[in-house]
């Protein structure tokens, strides 16, 4: 850090710090959940442990949060480089695509993913309410 002047220091360290810890923290929780679930499965108590089944079901959103946090870590952490040591992000932007066009595509993707999330939640909710197949 001392090799650079203070104005060139990155100003996104706190975001990077917390998002990285969210990713790693959730990863640790997953390992814990898997270990406990495996132990319960081996001892044959998993399908009757109501409290634990609630925990596993409610942890459904965590993998999505963890992967998103991982992406943010990678993309924030790499700044200001697009290709490390070779090309900076501001050199990689398209000269001919205007901000309005980028906004258009951003809104399009937001709309598309909003629709997909609603459908996903709807289908998953339906599946959970439906319950497992009777054995």
């Amino acid at each position: 850090m001392n090799a650079f002047t203070r104005v060139q220091w990155p100003d996104n360290i706190s975001l990077l710090y917390y998002i990285y810890h969210i990713m790693v923290g959730l990863g640790t929780i997953f390992i814990a959940i898997m270990v406990v679930s495996t132990l319960l499965l081996w001892t044959g108590r998993l399908y009757r442990a109501r409290l634990w089944l609630w925990v596993t079901m409610l942890s459904l959103p965590f993998p999505y949060i963890a992967t998103t946090a991982g992406w943010i870590t990678a993309e924030v952490g790499r700044q200001p480089w697009l290709i490390y040591g070779l090309m900076r992000t501001d050199q990689g932007a398209s000269m001919n695509v205007s901000a309005g066009n980028a906004l258009f595509s951003l809104i399009g993707f937001l709309g598309m993913y909003a629709l997909l999330s609603v459908l996903f939640l709807f289908l998953v909710g339906r599946e959970i309410a439906h319950g497992p197949e009777a054995e």
Binding site: S94, M95, N96, V97, S98, N101, F104, S105, G108, M112, L116, L119, L123, R126
Partner: protein, 343 residues
């Protein structure tokens, strides 16, 4: 070496259009040839094991373009930014529709996704055709080889052009009708009963429109892009491609008459391959001509990666494509004999 890579990109695109073409075509005719839920399931089953694999060839073509002609890739992906985003959304919607359709058995849910599937397939066919039209017509390149096209300007083919003009729309419609016929022949081969009967009918009607539009488009192409005619004069062996197209088109008709569905489909493959190869040969050595000053057009020599990169590229491209091709041979042999006999 640049020419070799030009052929690779062209070959990957031909493979994409032939393969994904039939499932796009199946999507176009989906609502028309299949009326009941059972019939629609038949159409979806006909493309079921193939459609997502077929899209691999679009990625292969894009990846090869990125590797072999990087400055063309950067110029074209900025310049065609808006339509490329729309193509991406359409591909997403289409995949979602196929996957989501079966999740809920309801008289609202299934037809909704059938309409999304069919609409996205139709628009994709038109977009891909219009894209080819843009590449043949050329775009408004500046001196540094960059451009940005609005969706449309005054629908003329010279000067400040847009993505859509009368020529690119015409190529889009030709692509739409060609893929309709292509998909109908595939569905006719893969299904039985009413769906098969209706698909054959669609293919017969589409055939006449394909013939008419092919003649019209060819004449207009020779007028708009003199390079195409000049190249055929320069490389007389290249007339093999248009000849393949014409022979295949006649073959499609004969096989349709004799209700030989598979042969008719293979003829349709030959027609598409011949047409696209003719276009590629007609453009060579350009990869993206200019709609204004011809000397601004992007050629393979101007956009290719360094000679070392191109040589190294062969070492992964060839094994990679052999792997992909091997997988496709396995896939099509595995499911090839299977025809839906549920009706």
């Amino acid at each position: 070496m640049e020419t070799l890579w030009f052929c690779f990109v062209a070959a990957a695109l031909v493979a994409y259009v032939i393969l994904d073409g039939f499932d796009l075509g199946a999507g176009i005719i989906h609502l028309g040839v299949a009326r009941t839920d059972e019939e629609r399931t038949q159409v979806l089953a006909a493309i079921g094991p193939y459609w997502d694999g077929n899209e691999v060839w679009l990625l292969a073509a894009g990846g090869t373009l990125f590797m072999a002609f990087p400055s063309l890739y950067s110029s074209a992906f900025s310049g065609f930014y808006l339509p490329l985003m729309m193509v991406l959304w359409l591909l997403m919607l289409r995949g979602i529709a196929i996957e989501f359709r079966g999740h809920i058995d309801s008289p609202v849910w299934k037809p909704l996704w059938d309409v999304v599937f069919s609409g996205a397939s139709a628009l994709l066919a038109i977009f891909f055709g219009a894209a080819l039209g843009n590449v043949v017509r050329g775009v408004s390149l500046n001196a540094s080889g960059e451009f940005f096209l609005p969706l449309w300007t005054n629908f003329g083919v010279k000067g400040e052009v847009g993505i859509l003009d009368w020529y690119t729309i015409m190529v889009g419609v030709l692509a739409y009708v060609t893929l309709t016929q292509h998909g109908a022949l595939w569905v006719a081969w893969k299904t039985q009963g009413e769906v098969q009967r209706r698909s054959r009918h669609v293919a017969r009607v589409a055939w006449w429109i394909v013939v008419a539009l092919t003649i019209l488009t060819t004449v207009m192409t020779l007028k708009i892009q003199p390079q195409v005619g000049a190249n055929l004069g320069l490389h007389p062996w290249g007339s093999i491609f248009p000849i393949v197209s014409v022979v295949s088109l006649v073959g499609t008709w004969i096989c349709l008459r004799r209700t030989q569905d598979l042969r008719a489909f293979l003829c349709s493959c030959g027609f598409i391959a011949g047409m696209l190869a003719s276009a590629a040969l007609g453009l060579y050595p350009y990869v993206l001509p200019s709609s204004g000053d011809p000397s601004l057009g992007l050629t393979i020599a101007r956009t290719a990666a360094g000679p070392h990169g191109l040589r190294m590229g062969l070492m992964w491209w060839i094994p990679g494509v052999l792997l992909a091709a091997g997988y496709f041979v396995f896939l099509y042999r595995h499911f090839g004999q299977e025809r839906d006999t549920s009706s």
